[in-house]
């Protein structure tokens, strides 16, 4: 050991520098060059992809609206013990002043919206009180405000406002897993009819799993056929796999609407063949069936391509060897061929599952009520209800799931082995 190390260090290049040093220098130069080539794209991705997403997800901890608009009340609430309704005094004075100013600044709507997310009907309470608050100029503030609307005399509302006041909050995560706070500020399950997100996460998981299994069931035989056929034939058939892959997502979704609707091709064919009668036309679209069918169609190439590239590498002689050693077709297939295709199955299934779990467009167009997924709910909170923090909390949970799967994919398959066409 010592001897070889000594001799390696001992070799001197013709310019008098030890060879080991020169080699290290050359390697370092190559490393730097490789890094420099990657840097522009890596920087671009970090700046316009990783950073925006991180900032967006951090919104889930963030609720500045109430604290900013109702800053006097919030200052009081910070030190308040949170039991019952505060007595007449600085709290009510601060509240009245905040309401007056919020109406002048036209910010009362923002504060009311935040409260309204958690306590329906709070919006009218706030706007109505803000209208009347300017007439309350002298104590007793409490009694006058309660005279305007007795909603203020509720410990629940004050408990809620105390939770809304700080700028950092976990309540969106609490909401995102269908929990809420009770009167005492403890986390409890939402009433049955308001539990939406956990069932939706579960549905997303189940539907992605279903789509994945459908893709595997349909894709495995096709990939096998493609891998054993002569190259000329399989290249031709491959076009039938690749064409959907290259066709616009919206085109394919539109196509499925035309196929599956009540007057659509499938139902009409079944009626024509007298399998079902005119009255029995099936509702195949705008529900979870439609979403599953359309998503299976859209994601099937992502299953077939990795399977095919793995199956191509399995030598056919192994199967023949198994047959000649006495295994029947079935045993040879399940004991010799299938285990060798497991990497392809893993790659395809994980890829399909990852892509399915974040799907948005197809469920939004053909999902109806029962076929929408968690992405649609995120988009709803982004665009319609404008509850951005809740959207961010749901997004964080979804992204965490996807990242876990991505890590798994990387461990099992390796990102380098991702193949397209």
């Amino acid at each position: 050991m010592v001897d070889t190390a000594h001799s390696a260090a001992g070799v001197i290049a013709d310019d008098g520098v030890p060879l080991k040093v020169k080699l290290a220098r050359a390697t370092r130069r190559q490393k730097i060059r490789a890094l420099l080539l990657v840097t522009p794209l890596a920087l671009f991705i970090v700046l316009s992809f990783v950073w925006p997403i991180t900032v967006m997800l951090l919104r889930s901890f963030d609720s500045p609206e109430f604290g900013r608009v109702m800053h006097r009340t919030s200052a009081f609430l910070e030190n308040w013990d949170g039991t019952g309704v505060p007595p007449e005094g600085p709290a009510w004075k601060a509240l009245v002043e905040d309401l007056v100013q919020a109406r002048e600044d036209q910010t009362i709507g923002k504060a009311a919206t935040v409260v309204n997310f958690e306590m329906p009907a709070a919006r009218s309470l706030f706007t109505k009180s803000a209208r009347h608050a300017k007439n309350i100029t002298a104590p007793p503030y409490k009694d006058q405000l309660i005279a305007v609307d007795d909603g203020w005399n509720s410990p629940e509302l004050w408990g809620l406002m105390k939770r809304l006041a700080p700028a950092f909050t976990m309540r969106f995560y609490v909401n995102a897993i269908d929990r809420t706070y009770d009167k005492n500020g403890d986390i409890v399950q939402q009433p049955e009819n308001r539990r939406i997100y956990l069932p939706l996460f579960w549905r997303t998981f189940v539907m992605s799993g279903t789509v994945m299994l459908c893709c595997l069931f349909l894709g495995y035989p096709v990939a096998y056929l493609l891998s054993v056929l002569p190259l000329r034939t399989s290249n031709l058939l491959m076009i039938m796999v690749l064409l959907p892959f290259w066709t616009s997502l919206l085109v394919r979704t539109t196509a499925w609407i035309a196929m599956l609707q009540r007057e659509g091709v499938i139902n009409s064919l079944l009626v024509w063949a007298h399998i079902i009668s005119e009255k029995e036309r099936m509702q195949l679209i705008f529900n979870s069936t439609g979403t599953t069918i359309a998503m299976t169609h859209i994601l099937l190439p992502f299953m077939i391509l990795p399977l095919y590239s793995v199956m191509k590498t399995v030598p056919p002689s192994y199967m023949r060897a198994a047959r000649s050693l006495g295994a029947n077709q079935f045993t040879a297939f399940t004991r010799v061929y299938m285990p060798q295709t497991i990497p392809g199955v893993g790659a395809g299934s994980l890829l399909v599952f990852i892509l399915a779990i974040g799907y948005y467009i197809t469920p939004a167009l053909v999902g109806g009520e029962t076929g929408i997924l968690i992405s649609n709910m995120i988009a709803y909170h982004m665009q319609k209800s404008l509850n951005w923090s809740l959207a961010a909390a749901l997004g964080t949970i979804l992204l965490a799931g996807v990242m876990l799967l991505y890590w798994l994919y990387n461990r099992i398959v390796g990102v380098d082995n991702m193949k397209l066409g």
Partner: protein, 304 residues
Amino acid sequence: MGLPPYAATWERIWYYGFRFFCALVFLFLIAPILIIIPLSFNADPYFTFTKGMLAFKPSAYSFRWYLDIFQNGMVNPGLPKFSWAWLADSWQNAQWIHATKNSWFIAICATILSASLGTLAALGLSQSQMPARNFFMSLLISPMIVPLVITAAGMFFFFSNVGLSGTYLGIILAHTVLGTPFVVITVTATLIGFDRSLIRAGQMLGAPAHTVFLKIIMPLILPGVISGALFAFITSFDEVVAVIFLANYDQRTIPRQMWAGIREQISPTILAVATILIVISIMLLTMVELLRRRSERLRGLSPA
């Protein structure tokens, strides 16, 4: 995999059953796409085959929905068809034409950006000395993995803050992000079979670095770069979520227009547009296939 003559009956059943099943899967893959094409020539404003269409009556078929692509949104649709004034009006005001112009402009810009950035990165990633290779690869592929809604929402806030929301630049940047993973994947795949001794041979013969790049590396990886660029192009051309979040009416692209059409007033014009898009995707697919074969031939992976 022919059926041997000594095959038992059950093997025959299995063999044909298996082929039948595969044929059904191919039908499942291709039928929805093909069904769109005749439907787009429907003379009636329906999404279904009419009785006349099934009887192959010429009167049941028409080009009206293709004409509608040019006319919808025109200021003065009463002009004589295909006159200069009509064409000018269509070019300037028709909704679908507007969307088409946007789609091409955005897709071409995004493709150029993602192809150049992606190729550079792929060259770096495929060098044996690349440090933290797996980390960088995972980072650069991640736009393909992260759910689009999350990406679009993140960009929506970020671009609003820096004044890029509702601008062409914003959408081009977003589509560049989404397109680069495809370029990175295809170009690194091309570089895997790349014979590095060719570079050393060039260097030994005295070629400077840029000559080696232009004369040796570039011609060999060009098929990979082009097919990566085509992937990036189709990604941008087909992308709708980022456009929904980031674009105003001015930047509406074809998929955005289709999205609005399917959700609001579903008309067979969408089917006509879809047919045109199918033709475009067939063309792109053919190009990618030809490139792939050329690349394999160049690298000696398969006989000419």
